[in-house]
């Protein structure tokens, strides 16, 4: 199965490439001074945008398989989820270390007092155990059924992420609404009849 293994490696590499591309673009924009008058805010917003985007992308392979029978995107789910966690962690680190410059008093007050920050922080906490258990070793240790049940927490993280975004904007809710619609469709698509098993009996986790 040399061809299968090569294809699998290629898909995996493409997954990591896709995960790193926004970060490379951000670095290029920073180097070329394309982040505008408030680069600290621009980086924070971009990292948040990519967190939600990768969360949505990680929820897409399952419905895609249901609708089209396409199985190979299932192999990318864990990578996309890990990417979402990585961007969320960078987003929080940027807020903590650059935007607030480690002013912990302010940060703690924000997390406690500002509902949109509380919700965003909760989303990251929900993603943490998923990132930790994202390895093959943890799939074996937990058993696939339990592992899968645990990783349904991704649904909660995506919803919390959308609420975090929606509660932050001042007036124009277009972008958070688009995320809500996309993520809502991807979650609702999981209800109803089971997966089409015609092409791929078992997708890798």
């Amino acid at each position: 199965m040399a061809i299968g293994a090569a294809r699998s490696r290629w898909i995996g590499a493409a997954g990591w490439g896709a995960a790193l591309a926004p970060l490379a673009l951000l670095a290029a924009d920073a180097a070329a001074h394309r982040l505008g008058a408030n680069p600290i805010e621009a980086v924070l917003n971009r990292l948040g945008f990519w967190t939600l985007t990768f969360l949505a992308l990680s929820l897409a392979p399952t419905p895609l398989q249901r609708w089209t029978g396409l199985a190979w995107p299932l192999r990318l789910r864990r990578r996309l989820g890990v990417a979402a966690f990585a961007y969320a962690a960078l987003h929080l680190s940027w807020y903590l270390g650059v935007d607030q410059f480690f002013d912990l008093e302010v940060v703690v007050a924000d997390v406690v007092k500002r509902p949109f920050i509380t919700v965003g922080f909760a989303a990251l906490l929900v993603l943490l155990p998923l990132a930790v258990t994202s390895t093959d070793g943890w799939v074996r240790r937990l058993g696939f059924a339990r592992w899968k049940a645990l990783h349904r927490l991704a649904y909660a993280a995506a919803l919390l992420g959308v609420v975090h975004f929606a509660w932050r904007v001042k007036a124009d809710r277009l972008k958070p609404t688009l995320f809500a619609v996309v993520i809502g469709v991807l979650l609702l698509a999981r209800l109803g009849p089971g997966p089409r098993r015609a092409q791929a009996g078992r997708g890798s986790p």
Binding site: A30, A31, A37, N38, F101, R114, D172
Partner: protein, 312 residues
């Protein structure tokens, strides 16, 4: 220092052309790494547009240097030209600030409808360097060019019933395409108490950095009230109406729990969703403390006896 000497030098092993290119490549790489580590802004965009004649200059921002033209004209909240900060500068081309008619009416003895340039000619232009504090917790220092609103109001002779001043932005989706989406109930409206409007700090601005106001900053005529949050500074004004009753204001109509009529800068009264205690001055890394009345304590007497918590 002992150095390992190869039997054959780089220059001998590698064709000269490649060898030189390798150096360029290394230099390029080092420069790239440095520029990443210390992102220094390139020479800021030079001011553009017609120069305005200024008769008097006053620096009223604690001696701080003005925020560069490039930043003041590329990072804007002007939802009529798009809701992202970079949108107004990119889309300002649709706004045609000349010819432009302004109406001053309501509770006045001498209402006026006239061309904006005829209006501007009635007053000597002054430069005022003010702090500008946005409700989103960022700030700038802006050298405005304009004239005191009070001078205009005296010319139209308010009646005894005039207690407030209402302002209205142009309503024209062809010129302000952001008005095609009902993000806000268009047109944008703002208001001041008449004693706030006639305070000597309150300015009608027609320029900045010595040049005619660009579209994204609210051409041809906008309000500047330096002790209030930036959203009070209504842009591209077509109508100023003196009223007996407090006029509606756009943001307080949209979210009454978050924005009131006054919009006075106050570090002690948080926006319900974020702190107003500190702000990021554009161009600075660390946040700084926000000053009561944005550092213009001389206006405090306007609010004697009122609870500052009601003045958000």
């Amino acid at each position: 220092m002992a150095r390992w000497r190869p039997d054959i030098g780089d220059a001998e092993a590698t064709p000269e052309g490649l060898w030189l290119r390798r150096r360029d490549f290394l230099k390029l790489g080092a420069a790239g790494a440095l520029s990443l580590a210390w992102p220094e802004r390139p020479a800021a965009g030079e001011p553009v547009g017609a120069t305005l004649p200024v008769t008097k200059r006053e620096a009223l921002a604690g001696g701080e240097a003005p925020t560069p033209w490039e930043d003041v004209t590329s990072y804007n909240n002007f939802y009529e030209l798009g809701t992202d900060k970079a949108d107004p500068a990119a889309r300002a081309g649709t706004l045609r600030p000349r010819p432009w008619t302004v109406t001053i009416d309501g509770e006045v003895k001498k209402p006026l409808t006239l061309d904006v340039d005829a209006l501007i000619k009635r007053f000597p232009l002054e430069e005022r360097v003010y702090r500008m504090r946005c409700v989103e917790a960022w700030s700038m220092v802006i050298p405005w060019v304009g004239f005191p609103l009070g001078d205009l109001l005296r010319q139209v002779e308010p009646t005894s019933r005039a207690r407030f001043v209402a302002f209205q932005t142009l309503l024209d989706p062809a010129q302000l395409p952001g008005q095609r989406r009902a993000v806000i109930d268009w047109p944008y409206v703002e208001g001041l108490r008449i004693d706030e409007a006639t305070h000597p700090l309150t300015l009608l601005a027609v320029g900045l950095h010595g040049r005619v106001l660009p579209g994204q900053n609210g051409a041809p005529l906008r309000l500047v009230v330096p002790w209030k949050y930036g959203f009070k500074g209504v842009k591209s004004i077509v109508r100023i109406t003196l009223t007996e009753r407090q006029p509606p204001t756009s943001w307080s109509r949209l979210a009454p729990s978050e924005y009131g009529f006054y919009g006075n800068v106050n570090p002690a009264v948080d926006h319900p969703r974020w702190s107003q205690a500190r702000e990021r001055r554009i161009g600075e890394f660390l946040k700084r403390k926000t000053l009561p009345f944005n550092g213009y304590p001389e206006v405090a007497s306007l609010y004697a006896g009122l609870d500052p918590r009601s003045l958000y």
